[in-house]
Amino acid sequence: MNFPIISILIFLPLISSILLLPIRTKNSIFYYSYGVIISIINFIISYKLILEFDDLNSSFQFVENYKIFSNYDIKYIVGIDGLSLLMIFLTTFLTPICLLISLNTIRTRVKEYIISFLLIEGLVIGSFASLDLLFFYIFFEATLIPMFFVIGIWGGENKIYASFKFFLYTLAGSVLFLIAIIVLFLITQTTDISILQKFLPKYLPLEYQKWFFLAFFASFAIKVPMFPFHTWLPDAHVQAPTAGSVILAGILIKLGAYGFIRFSLPFFPQASHYFSNFIFILSVIAIIYASLVALMQEDMKKMIAYSSVAHMGFVTMGIFSFTKQGIDGAIMQMISHGIVSASLFICVGFIYDRLHTKKIKDMGGIAEKMPDFALLAMIFMLASVGLPGTSGFVGEFLTIIGTFKTSKIIAILASFGVVLGACYMLWLYKRVWFSSIHNPNIEGIKDLNKVEFVTLGIMAGFVIITGIMPNIILKYFNILSTNLSYLNNLR
C-alpha cells in the first residue's frame, strides 16, 4: 500500500499539463499525441486499480494520508471505494476519447485545449478520490476554471453567455457548501470523511442536519442539475464543443450525484429522510418536464441535454429512495448515462462535423448514407430509452423498483418518463436517420472513418455488455449500497 497509485492518477495529468505550458510549437499533432498518451497511461493505471481492487472489503482502499495544514486537522487523504473506483474509471476512459474525437475539429489553440482537458481529468479524479471534505471542495471548485475556458474559447456562437452562466451558477451553489464545510469543521474539528460518516448521524440533531443538508443540496443540486436549477445545462451543452459536452455530461454532472451518495446521505440520514419527498417531487418534475421539453427541441444537442436532466432525475430519485435497489440503480444509471449520453453527444458531433448544423429539420436519411453510424447510434438511442439488454435498462428499472418500495405514486409517475423518453428518442432517430433526404449536403456525406468507428464501437460494446451482465459493475458497489440502505433504520 506504499505505492501512491491514487496520487499518481491525480497528479500525472495535472503535472503533465503544467509541463506543456512553456512548450511552443505550431504542430497540433504533437499536442494531441501528448495528451492522448498521458490520458491512456492514466487509463492503464486505473485499469490496474480495478484489477487490484477488493470488492468484498467495505472500507476505503489504497488510502494515502498526508498532513497539509498544521494548525487545523485538515489532511490530504485519498482513497477509493467501489463507487469512486467506477467513477474514476469512467473519467480515465472518457478523457482519451474526448481528445481523439476532437482531433479533426479543434484546430485553434490546441495547446490550451489539451491543457484544459488534462486539468479537468486530474481535478475530477481528485474529487472522486478525496476522503477529506475540504479537499473534495478544492478539487470540485477547481474544475470550474478549465471548463470555463473549454466552453468560452472553443464554444459556439453564444459561448460567452453560456460560460458565464455555467461558472456563476456553479460558484453560487458551492459557496454555501463551503460555509457548511467550515461550520462542520468548527463543530467537529475534522474534515475526514470516514470520521464524519461515523459520528455525524449519531450526534448531530435533526434541526442542524436540515441546514447542513440544504447547504450541501444547493451545491449538488446545481451540479446534477435538478429541476429548478437545471437552466445552465442546456446552454452549456449547446455552446460547448463536442468533447466539452462529453466531459460535462459524462463526468462533471456526476459529481453532484456522487456528492449526494458520498456526503448528504451518510452524513445527514435523518435530514435526507426529512427532505426525501421534496427531492422525489423535484426528480419526478425533472423526469417528466425535461422529457416534454426535449420532445419539442429543434437542436439535437439541446434535446440530449434535456434528456440528461431527465435521466439524472432517475438518479436523484433512486438515491433518496433509501433502498438497496434504488441506490444500486442510481449508481448504475450514473455510469450508464455517463457512457450513453457521452456517445450521443459524440454522434451529434460527428454529424455536425459533416453537415455543420445541429438542427433536426436539416437532417433526414442519414442512415442511407452512413449505415455503420446508424447502427451504432441506434444502440445508444435504445440504451438511452432503456431497452432491456442495454445498460440504460438496468439503471432505470432498479431505480423504479427501489422507489416503488418507498412511494408508489412517484414510481408510477417516473415510469411515464420512460415512455416519454422512448417518444423523443425514437422520434429523433426517425427524423434524423430515417425519412427521406431533403438536404443536398447529406447526399455527399461519408461514413465513419476508422478512428471514429472504433471509438463508438468500444462504447457500444460497453453499453451492451453491462446491459446483459450488469453484475460486473454492480458487484463493486454492492456493499456500499447495502450500508446506505441500512441508514433507513436510523429514522
Binding site: L21, K67, I68, F69, S70, N71, Y72, Y137, I138, E141, A142, L144, I145, F148, F149, G152, I153, K159, I160, S163, F164, F167, L168, L171, A172, V175, L176, L178, I179, I182, V183, F185, L186, I187
Partner: protein, 486 residues
Amino acid sequence: MNIASILPEITLFSGSIFILMLDVFLSKKIKNTFYLSHLLSIILCALTILVLVKTFYLISNNNYFNNSFSVNPSTLFLKSISILLLTLVLMLSFSFVSKQKYSGELLALMMIATVGGMIILSANDFIVFYLGLELQALSLYLLSAFNVNCRKSSEAGIKYFVLGSLASGILLFGISIIYGFSGTTNFSTINEFINSFEKDQISISLIFGVLIFITAMFFKISAAPFHMWTPDVYQGSPSSVTTFFATVVKFTIVIALVRISSNFIWEIVGKVILYISIISIAIGSFGAIYQKNLKRLLAYSSISHVGFVLLGLSGISKDVTFSCILYMIIYSIISIGTFGFVSLIKDKNGNENENIFDITSLSGLAKTNPVMAFSLTILMFSTAGIPPLAGFFSKFYILISAISHGLSSTNHEIFYVAIVAIIFSVISAFYYIRIVKIMYFDEPKDLIELEDYGNCKLIILTMAVINLIFIIFINPITNLINSFIL
C-alpha cells in the same frame, strides 16, 4: 538601546535623504545611464532588511521610548514584509521613475512613506501612531499628484489631501476623547485602564472616542462608506504610485489597525466593524461591475478586500490576527501582480493616457502576450477566491475565524454576515472572470503595448506562480506567520 530599536527606520530614512541629495548633485546623464538612484534605493531596501534581521537578534520583545514604541518579532516580521513589498514596487516602477524629471524625489517619497508605515506598525502610543500616519499620508498626497502634466493626477492629489486631512482631524478628535476619559495615550495603559472595569461599565464616551478613531481609520483603509476617494485617487495617480498605494500603504495601515484593535474591540465596536465590513464588500462588489476603467475596477476590488479583512477583524477570536495578516499578505502579493501589470500598460507610442486603461483594451491579450495573460488569469481567479489558488485560502481562514466567533458568541450576526459576504464574493467573481473573458475569448484590438522590462514581467509571473503553488507550501507559511505573531 532606545536608538537601536529604531535603527531600521533610521537606516531607511537617512538613506532616502541621501538619495534625495545625490539626485540634486548628480548630472542627468549619469543618473540616466546607471539608474543610479534607483539601484541605490533597492540596495537600501536590502540593507534595511539586514538591519531588521540584526535588530531581531539584538532586541527581544520590549517597548522603548517611554513605552511608546514596541519592537518585537511580530512587528519586525511585518516591517520586513512591507520592505519586501516596497522593493518589488520599486523594481516594477523602474521605467516610470527613469522617465521622471524628479526621480530622486519620487523614490525618496516612497521610502519615507514606508518609514511612516513602519512607525505605525510598531506604535504603542497614539501620538507616535498619529505622527507615523501623517508622515505616510503627507508623502502620499505628494505622490498621487506626481504626474504634474496630467489633470487627473492633480485632481487626485487635491482630493486625497482635502479628504485625508479631514480624516486626520477626526482621528485626532477621537484620540483626544480617548485621552480625556482614560488620562493616557499609551495603548498598554489604556488597555489596563479598560480591563479594570467590568464589561458593561466602560464609559460610553470612551467607546465614542474609539468609534471616532476607528471611523478615521476606515477612511484611511478605504472601507465603505468612506471609500469615495479611492477610485479617483487610484485612477488619477501614476500607475506605479497606485501599485505602491495598493500594496505597501494598504498593508501597513490595515495591519496597524488589526494590531491596535486587539486592544479596543468590544462588542459594540465589533458590531460597527461588522456592518462596515459588509457594506464594503457590497459596495466593492457592486461598484466594480459598472467600471470600465481597469484602475477603478481594481480600486473597487480593493474596497471589497478591505471588507473581508474587517469581517475577520470583527470576530474576537485568537486567530483573528493570524487570518488578517495572512489575508493582507496574500492580497498584497496579488496586488503586486495586478497593479504591476497595470503599470506596464502603455499605448502604442509608449505613453500613458486615459484610454488605455479601459478594460476592453486588454482584449485578445492571450494571443499577443500569452505569459502575461496567463499570469493575470491566475491572479484574477485567485482574487475571486477560486481554489486551489492562494486567494481561496485567505478567504477560508477569514471565514473560519469569523464563523467560529459567530458560533461561540451569543449573537449569531457575524455568522449571517459571513454568509452574505461570501454570496457577494460570487458577484465579484463576475467581473474578475470578465477580465479573463476579455483576454481569452475576444479578438485582439492591438491598442496597447506592454512595456518590455524583463524583470517586471518576471515579477508578475512570479506572483502568479506563488498563488498557484501556495497550496503546497501552506504549512510552512502558516507556521512561519504563527511563529512570529505569537
